[in-house]
Assembly symmetry: C2
Homo-oligomer: 384 residues x 2
Amino acid sequence: MARMRKTYLLTPGPTPVAPSTLLTMAQPIIHHRTAQYEEIFQEVREGLRYLFQTDQEVLVFASSGTGAMEAAVSNTLSPGDRVLVVRGGKFGERWAEICQAYGVDTVNVDVEWGRAVDPERIRAILDEDPSIRAVLVQASETSTGVKHPVREIGEVVRPRSETILIVDAITGLGVFDLKTDAWGLDVVVSGSQKALMLPPGLAFAAVSSKAWGFVERSALPKFYFDFKKERRSAQKNQNAYTPAVSLIVGLREVLRRIREETLEVVFRRHARMALATRQAAQALGLELLAPESPSEAVTAIKSPPGADAQSITRHLWERYGVRVAGGQAQLKGKIFRIAHMGFMNTFDVVIAVAALEMTLRDLGLPVKLGEGVAAAEEVLSGEV
Amino acid sequence: MARMRKTYLLTPGPTPVAPSTLLTMAQPIIHHRTAQYEEIFQEVREGLRYLFQTDQEVLVFASSGTGAMEAAVSNTLSPGDRVLVVRGGKFGERWAEICQAYGVDTVNVDVEWGRAVDPERIRAILDEDPSIRAVLVQASETSTGVKHPVREIGEVVRPRSETILIVDAITGLGVFDLKTDAWGLDVVVSGSQKALMLPPGLAFAAVSSKAWGFVERSALPKFYFDFKKERRSAQKNQNAYTPAVSLIVGLREVLRRIREETLEVVFRRHARMALATRQAAQALGLELLAPESPSEAVTAIKSPPGADAQSITRHLWERYGVRVAGGQAQLKGKIFRIAHMGFMNTFDVVIAVAALEMTLRDLGLPVKLGEGVAAAEEVLSGEV
């Protein structure tokens, strides 16, 4: 007897890919040095400008998001440069590690995991040390479910001609509002496997005019992730090196989907799912890791007293086929994370909460079945 | 009226992807930090060792092949190191450009485009300058259709403890015999969109024990393409950064396919297709660019006197739906290239040759219809 197993992917990347996108990408592969490809890539370039809310070129790389993070450093900085890194989670730490690998000095602004950075701390440091060339931060810190105040940080950095703002928006872009141009975000990087509802394998970087000035003066080595070379190719609707063709074909489709829904509605959908999840968790007596500045991309929930979060994530998967993420690094075993990004809506939240309620019951933890779902439904029902 | 258009991809990358592989990759995406993924990646690791003919770990990156070329340089060398680069085409030039970007000095061995390098030239230079830390070469130079004598170069480099051999096998691996371990190839890089019959987006690097010693001492910066970090992850059936999950799932399938066919038969199939194409071209009175050391991956054919190769490739596509490649850089307009890699067999050659015959006729160039096909059939018929 083989039990029918229906599974649900609710992790903060990869996120579910729509069946129609999967089938679009399953079409026979085409050659990239052709008018056929260039027509697709031209549409992709336009769609990315809409998504990033920028008039600048959005560069596309065949890599994971980390590749674009590295590119943001190696293309704008020089050996011995000093930068400010906001370290409030695993991905903040990654910024610092990349800088270290390239001989870039970091002033680390450490923030308690689960809290957002205070822009005034950044202002004070920049005022004191005008030699700082860049501020590196996450729009959404995936490891903690925190949203950093990128807009306010932009206001701090923007007036300084010798400092740029580099934003890891890998789990932020397309989830909540991020106005690249209007907020003065100089380099915004993202990846395909989050709100973009694609498999992993593509990374993006939007680069402001101010940042292009930095690129001109950068003396760090780069080849595959070379912004200038990639922009020159993009302007001819091409890529410097062989693109991940099937993902680009999928990207055209998801960008069409997002334009059709409109960013405004996309953001509202994510906000509603995130709010419903938070309300449900609290109705179940669970504590949020980041109650003050929660990201709409992912909700981090502390495991109840006496329970290891890993036993919860394991049971969710094994018994109910629901895949959520555990905690990373110092948060391992202490939290679990439910994502709300991309090809998700109302009933993905209902599934998550219902599975959580039943898991708590199965594990002998205190729960009143239905209370979380009811709280979620309060948010999810009615007019959209 | 819309004419039914059936198209054929005969370019040296991307190459056709089997429908079953496309549909395998169209399955719902899975999360990579799970036992489910690790089981797949473990099988992939074994399959790659078979394909590369190595007992070493084969590292996998989400990038195009160029990323792995860059990684081979940035992980084994240090600023100011001197290396020997075989420059006999566009990809030989790329080795030199990568080295230049990283401040590595190159001694360039220039070879006429269309000819293979003489290993004795390499020996003479290494004898004269023992400070040379690496020899960089293509197994198959895609821009010219030349196969370089990698095995013989291995014999030259192997006895020298302070020099490694770095091989770009992007269009060589899985096409013809390349014994990574037995021939002393220290770093062998490849990509997914060639003989591996997958969409572009994955790159590989096999690294010898000797080369790992170089990695330990390398002082060039790297982060995304970090060999050591990637090996540590691979040994746990994981990847340092988010892998291109759908391509990894496809990779498992194609590696199964290759093991089933066996490398021996795969190589024989490619050799037969390449020979048939060369015989056909010559029967049609066309000249080969690389008659002396042709690669089994791709055949470069000179356009007949008075004809621009671009008019031939354009007509092949527009009238017959057959996509072949033109020449690159200095060979633009002078050659066209027909590939034989991956998911191809007998009738892909027949299609290429028949389309070529009809194209020559349509363009008013001298041709006797059927003569090329007949020559190809001589090679392709009978016992396999």
